[in-house]
Each structure stands twice: as C-alpha cells, then as structure tokens.
C-alpha cells in the first residue's frame, strides 16, 4: 500500500526515525493489520521514501506499508485519518504490486521551496544563485559518524531559481538529487547562499521516482 502524506509545521522537528515510529503507532491505533518481518526480532514493515531533514515540512511525502490482509485503499485512509496527530495528513492511498522495487531505490530527486524573510532585492539574490550554479565544485564540510568529512555539494544541485514572494520575502525553488547514490540538502544550499541565519521556512514539495522520468 502506498500512502501519500504531508508532514506539516507541528511535526517538522520530528526526526525521520521518530516519524517512522509515529506511523507504526498510528497504524496500530487504526487497527490496520500491518505485516511483520520474519526473523528473530520481527518488525512491522514500513518504508518511507526519503528522510525529511529536521525542520523541513513535506507536502508530498511517500510511505509504503505491507498489510497482512487485504484492506481497500479507501478504508486504509478512512481508518488512519482520525488517529493521526496534528501535522500529519494522508492525501492518497493506493495499492502497489508486492514485487515493485522499493521506494528508496526508486528515489531520484526532490523539489524544495524555501521562503526567506529577507529584505534583500531578488536581483542580488539571483546573482548569488548564478555564482552557485556556475561553480564547478562546492566543497562542504559535514559531520558523519563522529568526524568531519569534505564533500562536493555541486553535483547534487540540479536547478535553483529565485522569485519574489509576498512582503519582501524571497522564494527559492530548487531541485536536488535524492537517490541511493546520494542526496543534496536544502539547508546546505541556503547556507552557500548566505541565508541560513535569516528566518526562513523550507518545504519539500515533490518527490521524483524513477518511473516519473
């Protein structure tokens, strides 16, 4: 069963693992028969397409869940909606073939929309975006398993565009790679643009799977 959902403001600080557990418990409250993995420590079978960074909301997230008995998609949605915490909404439910490749393996890219509360003219922001796109490499530091590593952000950035928003806000839309080979982070792009310390909100608006191409 593939579920399209939105993770909103109230839940944006919940980590990926915590979100997975939130789904498991919501399914239990809904009384939906989730299938368990085999083995020594059976786990309910869930898979979320791509981890959403802490602090980012998601409008079109995807979750696969395996049920142990057939339940109509409409019923899955109807039973889930009343037991979801505020900040979690189900938009679509559809049955998918059991043999379909995993969501995580199909992930290719994602769109992010950042609203930046800066008074900076859009033109000057555009200039910095162009510099970013023109750069052959964007070396960044990241903390991984207790040590700092250098990596290149540039190959993960597919497009970045700037538009004027309401009341002096700027809207930055970007498409970043998000595949099993690696994923770009929106907050890193904002940091390169010098915007990370200005109040802003980021939403992931679209996920692109392999077959969407």
């Amino acid at each position: 069963m593939r579920i399209g959902f939105a993770k909103g403001e109230p839940l944006k600080y919940i980590s990926h693992l915590d979100l997975a557990r939130t789904w498991e418990r919501a399914f239990r409250r809904a009384g939906l028969p989730v299938a368990y993995s085999q083995g020594f420590n059976p786990r309910p079978r869930f898979q979320i397409a791509a981890a959403l960074p802490v602090g980012v909301t998601g409008r079109a997230e995807l979750l696969d869940v395996w049920l142990s008995e057939p339940v109509a998609p409409e019923e899955v949605g109807a039973r889930l909606r009343p037991v979801l915490p505020s900040g979690l909404e189900v938009s679509t439910v559809e049955a998918v073939a059991l043999r379909a490749p995993s969501l995580q393996a199909q992930m290719r890219a994602a769109d992010y929309r950042a609203v930046v509360h800066s008074q900076e003219p859009v033109e000057s922001l555009r200039g910095r975006v162009q510099t970013l796109l023109d750069a052959p490499t964007l070396l960044r530091q990241r903390h991984h398993k207790g040590q700092w590593q250098t990596y290149d952000l540039r190959p993960f950035v597919q497009t970045v565009a700037v538009a004027a928003g309401r009341g002096g806000e700027s809207v930055i839309e970007m498409r970043l790679q998000a595949s099993p080979q690696g994923a770009g982070r929106a907050d890193e792009v904002l940091d390169v643009l010098g915007l990370s310390l200005i109040p802003h909100s980021v939403e992931r608006t679209t996920l692109y799977l392999e077959f969407d191409k």
Partner: protein, 630 residues
Amino acid sequence: MNVEEILDLILPTVAKPARYTGGEWNSVVKDWEACDVRWALAFPDIYEIGMSNLGLAILYDILNCQPGVLAERVYAPWVDMEQALRAARLPLFGLQSRRSLAEFDVIGFSLPYEHLYTNLLNMLDLAGLPVLALGRDERHPLVIAGGGATYNPEPLADFVDAFALGDGEEVVLDITAAIREAKQAGSTRETLLRQLAEIPGVYVPRLYGVRYHADGTVAEVRPAVPRAPMPVRKRIVATLPPPITRPLVPYVDTIHNRAAIEIQRGCTRGCRFCHAGMVYRPLRERPVDEILDAVDAIVANTGFEEIALLSLSSSDYSQIETLVRELVSRHGAEGADSGPGHLSISLPSLRIESVSVNLMEQLQATGRRSSFTFAPEAATERLRGVINKPISNDDLLSVAEEVYNRGWKTVKLYFMIGHPSQTLDDVAAIVDLALEVRAVGRRALGRKAQVNVSVSTLVPKPHTPFQWVPLADEADVRAQQEYLKDHLRGPGLKLNWYNYQETLLEAVLSRGDRRLGAAIHRAWELGARFDGWSDQFKVEAWRQAFRKTGTEIGFYTWRPRSLDEVFPWDLIDVGVSKEYLARDYQASHRGETRLDCREQCYACGILTAFKEQRAGSPAEAWGCPPLGPS
C-alpha cells in the same frame, strides 16, 4: 519576532528539537483564557526522562479533566537549549501554549531524586522567576514540589513554597481549589500559604522554625503559626484511582518509550535500605480486571507496542501469572483476538523468590528477549540478613539457569556496597556469585551467556531503618570498586560502578537540613545543573559551594547518628513510625529478618496512621491485614 519565529531560529541549532515542541498524541489543548487555575507541571530533567514518569502523567490527566483547570508540561532544557534560550532572552515555556512559566498560577515540580535540585532552581531562573521563595510575591506563580525525594523537603525549604507529600491524586485537587479560592478572594500569598498548610499532606516550610544544638543537630522543629500541623502526615489514597488510559505518545524516543500501568503501589518486603519500600506503604493492589480493561483501552488509544506493569516488585502482585497469561492471550504476537497484537510485556522489577517458571514462559511468549534483571543487593546470606533481603544463592542460581535455558542471553545483577557491617569477604562474594551465574549461563548457552553486574554504593535514606547508618568512606569504596574492576573482567562479564563524588552529593542532600539551601544556591550559581549526569556533574562547583557556605559534608554523611537524634525530616510523618524504624535497625545488627509483611504484620505504624482509610477499603485491597474489632 514572536515565540514561534524565535523558536524557528533556535530549534534547528539544538539537539533533538522535538523535546521542546509538544503536540504529542493525546496531549490536551485547553483554552488559556477559559481556565482560572493554570498549572505548569515541571520535571527538572530532560524530556526523555520526564516523559517516562508516570506520576506526572497521572497529575496531567487528573488536572486536565477538571473544568476550568489547565495543566501543561515543561522539562529541563538540555544545556544547548538553555544557552539558546538565554541568548534569545526567551523565557522557559509551557509546551502547549508556549507561554512563560511566569504566567502560570502554579508550578508543580516532580522530584523523584535529589540530583535534580539545582535543575529546579535553574528552571525557575530560566522563567525569569526569583529562585528564593521569599523573593517571590503575588505577581509570581506558586512553586510546589512533590515526589520521592521530597519526603525530606528540608534542603529545598528556601526555594519551594509548599510541598505535597504522599499520593498526589487527591491533594492536587485540594491545592487547585485553594488557589482558585485565593484568586477569587484576592488573598495575599501569605494567606494562601496558610490555607495550603491546612490541607492534609501539605507542608509549607516558611511556617516552621528550626532550632539547632551546638553540635549542629536539630534541637526542635516548631510551627510558627498555630494552625500549621506538626508533624505533617503524607496523603494516601485508600484505593488506587482508575488508571490513565490516554497517556501521551512521545515522538522522541524516551527512556521508557512504552505504555505503563501501575499494578500495585507500595511494597511489603521491608528491605532496610529501600526508601520507596518504606515511604510508599501501604501496599494497595489494583484488581486484575481493571488492569486488563485499562490495557485494552491504552493499546487502542496509543498504539504503543509495549506495556510495562509497574510496581516496586511486580512479581509480588498476587495474581501476576493470571494477569500476564490473559494479557498475552489478548495482545500477544499470535492469536490476538482484538487490536493490533504484537504487544510486549515488561515487568521492570522482579524478585528472585517470586519469579516462577510459568511466569518466565509467558514473558518468553511475548517475543522480547533482551535481558532479565535481579537485585540481590548483597552477595552473602549473612549480609542479606542485615539488609533484610533474605534470598538464597541457590535460588538465584536456579532462577538464572531457568532464564538462560529459555533463551535470554543476559542476566543483570544489581548489588550495593557500603552496607552496614559489610566486610571485604562480602565484596569478594559479589565476584564469586557473578562468576557462578556466568557458569550457569555457559552451561545453557555456551559463550553467548552474559552477566552484567551493576554495583552502586548505599546512600542511607531518610525514613528507612538505615537512616542512622554512616555513608561508607571514600577510600574503602574506591578500594572495593578497584577489587571488583580487577576481578570482574573477562568474556561474558560487564561491570558498572558509580563515581563516589556523585554518591557523596546524593548522600549530603538526602539527609540534609534547611541550612543546605545556601550550598545548593551557591552551587547552582557556580554552574551546577544536571548533577545526575556524569558528563555534566561539576564536582568543583559543589566543593566550592560547600566551602563558601561553611557546610561540613561529614556532618551529613559519615557521622554516626544516635538513636535519639531528632532528624530534620522527622516533621514529615510517612506513616511508618520512627520507633519501628529504630527497632528494625536494631534487628539488622542481629541479622534478624522480617519476611513479607503480608504474611505477618510487624506493626510498622501504617495501620495506626491510616486507620480510617483501611476501614474503608476491601480486605483484599491492601497488603495490611484488615482491622480487627477494636
């Protein structure tokens, strides 16, 4: 910027920001303006620990069920969040409304252990409130504290306006009513405090004066106003109120990320070191059917995949096997007749003598096989006679064998060092016993068998038979810990031990008096907080605070106390009489044991103190015998 905007800048920079955002499933949202008594329920440790505290969850439920009353939670912000809050000048806030604690009518702190005292001061300060009770007035919330550590409230007398002692379920409503009345009447804080002092179970420290002897011991504690009771007797509920069935479901992975139901309160065993075993008397059991119905509701309302059957000694619950069998058949992995199934059941405290093979097999059926924990506390039968925990090594070994045979790989053993009359032989026996358990494990599982030994140091606690016992001194404890470290190494063995300096602080605060307030205040000013966290514990701040305030550590810890000494906590009556404690302490010198007091009443004082509650309860509901004709 408003609070939300500030938080959006702060939260991405701190660890686990969801600690500070609330909104958990089953959290209660009430209209601020429509409520006239607003409680902030404060737990002075991090979210992950505070959310696992059942006491606070019960009060949250009770208060929010009242019309016109609102209760929000607040936990101690971790050091990164504290820094961020101070930098942004954002006051510490209630999780739901995001309003400053200063806007609430009352802040109720839960204090299960002494290491939280500096965090209490810090949370008040983070809300912009004066930390000293006398520095606060009608403009400020009332500060109330309760919980296990407050049975000796004196070290916090400078900071807390009133203490609620004993079971909180009823007294919290009495306090709410008094606050409402005072608000409506426009009473002064002084009037409100005097009214609170008349509620059974409430202690208002500023209404009492303490006189000391030249040697520093207490000469007399006397109420300064006529209507303040002396002593202050703790409150109890005659029967346990219905369990909460809509507990909060956290997003963040808390230390006990599971549902919990209290199957009984109190304990009938009488281990002489055990604070909880004395102060939570009498034993009151919850009926099996009530538990089963509640678990059905909890599972449906929360989706938790684990339930803990809480009690000071779960395996002593009279119908434990029936209960677990029925839970497994209703909610186990296979054959769940209703609900999602796959519920694992945990019994956090099992006694060696009451764990049956049957019970083990049922627990095994719930599928979880992590470890099995037992607390022999002492390794020789002689010393177990002294501490009144009479189990035999043979029983322990045969239970361990059954455990390993059923596939559990790890047995955890809890011991204490520093018991009165303990010798090096008793310490060496811990090693021997751990090795024997490992040998038993290896016969069942080969080299996969694991024994984890945890050795803490006895901290003599108020209101226990060991309240007269000196704390073991540092050189001895360190030598014993070194011995254990040298001898408990090798495959399949793991040893946990505790820093003596942390034990020492707990010991000072446990049997402290109100003069310690100055040291606590100074230590907090010097940066002490999260004293229970080894990585945060600032021993130098405490040393300096004790020095600057002229606090003699030895007076509170290593000093022998005479049987007729008046203790600072004697003004709190927990129901168990001081005469009984003294008799039991003397019995410990003779190695005399007192078995389960359900079998035979030793007249600890509870039945005298709570005669009326006993008379109003069914015979089988209490561990104490029904009252005879008088």
